[in-house]
């Protein structure tokens, strides 16, 4: 079993996005992320993280 304390520096960006952007109570502020925006984040993040993961794998070689 791998144990990771959630001190922010040990947590992956993916886990953070999963909680901070996808969970929590939604309130209507002056600026509110709409569902469409969050989908955009996912699309963007998918590309960004995928390329970052590829880079890390390449760097590890």
């Amino acid at each position: 079993m791998v144990e990771r304390r959630s001190l922010a520096e040990q947590v992956t960006l993916l886990d953070l996005v999963d909680r901070v952007l996808n969970k929590g109570v939604v309130v209507t502020g002056d600026v509110t992320l709409s569902v469409a925006d969050v989908d955009l984040v996912y699309v963007g993040l998918r590309l960004l993280l995928a390329s970052a993961a590829t880079l890390e794998r390449e760097a590890a070689r």
Partner: protein
């Protein structure tokens, strides 16, 4: 508490139970109303401008810095008192609007605070190394015969093994979530993160969040048991937390 400086707005991280020790937190302001405290910080409005936001969110450094800041504040608040995490990006131009939001949602915030008080969220992920799981499932030896028939038989066995492995993954994940739910106050099975995002060769089969009493060790012990029992299936467990109750912030209907 005065208004946010010119060009800035209040970013609300969460709503906490009023507690005098909150005043000791650095870098945040408190907006209080009848027993509820909004934990806020003045942020440059231009960064969260609706037009600029989609672009910002796709800037990995910006996203990471601000998502971590959001989490850090919630962790600090959670260390002091019960808190309802708000979703990223709740911005208000004036103090009155924050007060209005607190007032409008007061009932919901109070019942959620009641539910999460004295509890923490733990995350459990299960990863499966599919090749080693398929090996444990075994399979019949290929019978002697013509090369073509042997090939077809091998292909069929591979497909069958892959089907069995998928079914076994679902079974393992279901068993793990059930057993972990039994030692938790509340439980959520989130969609496993896809491999192209995790960058790992193993497949994530469980992405669960569990609300447990603060200091309660039962869930961690159950994860250890599961890890032992499922290690021969090529399953690895990962425990994260304690987190503020992100997954348990929305009122149950």
């Amino acid at each position: 508490m005065i208004e946010a400086p010119a060009g800035t707005a209040w970013y609300v991280y969460g709503v906490a139970e009023d507690d005098p020790t909150l005043a000791r937190l650095e870098g945040v302001e408190l907006i209080r109303d009848s027993g509820l405290t909004a934990v806020v910080r003045a942020v440059p409005l231009e960064e969260y401008d609706e037009a600029a936001l989609p672009e910002r969110l796709n800037d990995r450094d910006w996203l990471e810095r601000n998502a971590r800041a959001h989490e850090d504040v919630l962790q600090e608040v959670a260390a002091v008192t019960a808190v309802v995490p708000l979703r990223f990006g709740a911005i208000y131009r004036s103090r009155d609007q924050v007060l209005g939001m607190l007032d409008e949602r007061a009932g919901e915030f109070r019942s959620t605070l009641e539910r999460v008080r004295g509890h923490v969220e733990l995350g459990v992920k299960a990863w499966v190394d599919l090749p080693s799981l398929e090996r444990t499932l075994g399979g019949d030896e290929v019978a002697a015969g013509s090369a073509g028939a042997a090939y077809l038989q091998r292909r069929r066995q591979e497909q069958e093994r892959s089907r069995q492995a998928t079914a076994r993954c679902a079974e393992l994940a279901e068993e793990a979530h059930r057993r972990l739910s039994e030692v938790a106050v509340a439980a959520v099975a989130n969609r496993p993160q896809p491999r192209e995002l995790t960058g790992r060769t193993e497949a994530m089969v469980l992405n669960g969040a569990y609300l447990v009493r603060s200091g309660d060790d039962l869930l961690r012990l159950e994860v250890e048991r599961l890890a032992k029992e499922h290690s021969s299936d090529g399953v690895e467990y990962e425990l994260t937390g304690p987190w503020p109750p992100h997954n348990f912030a929305e009122e149950r209907t």
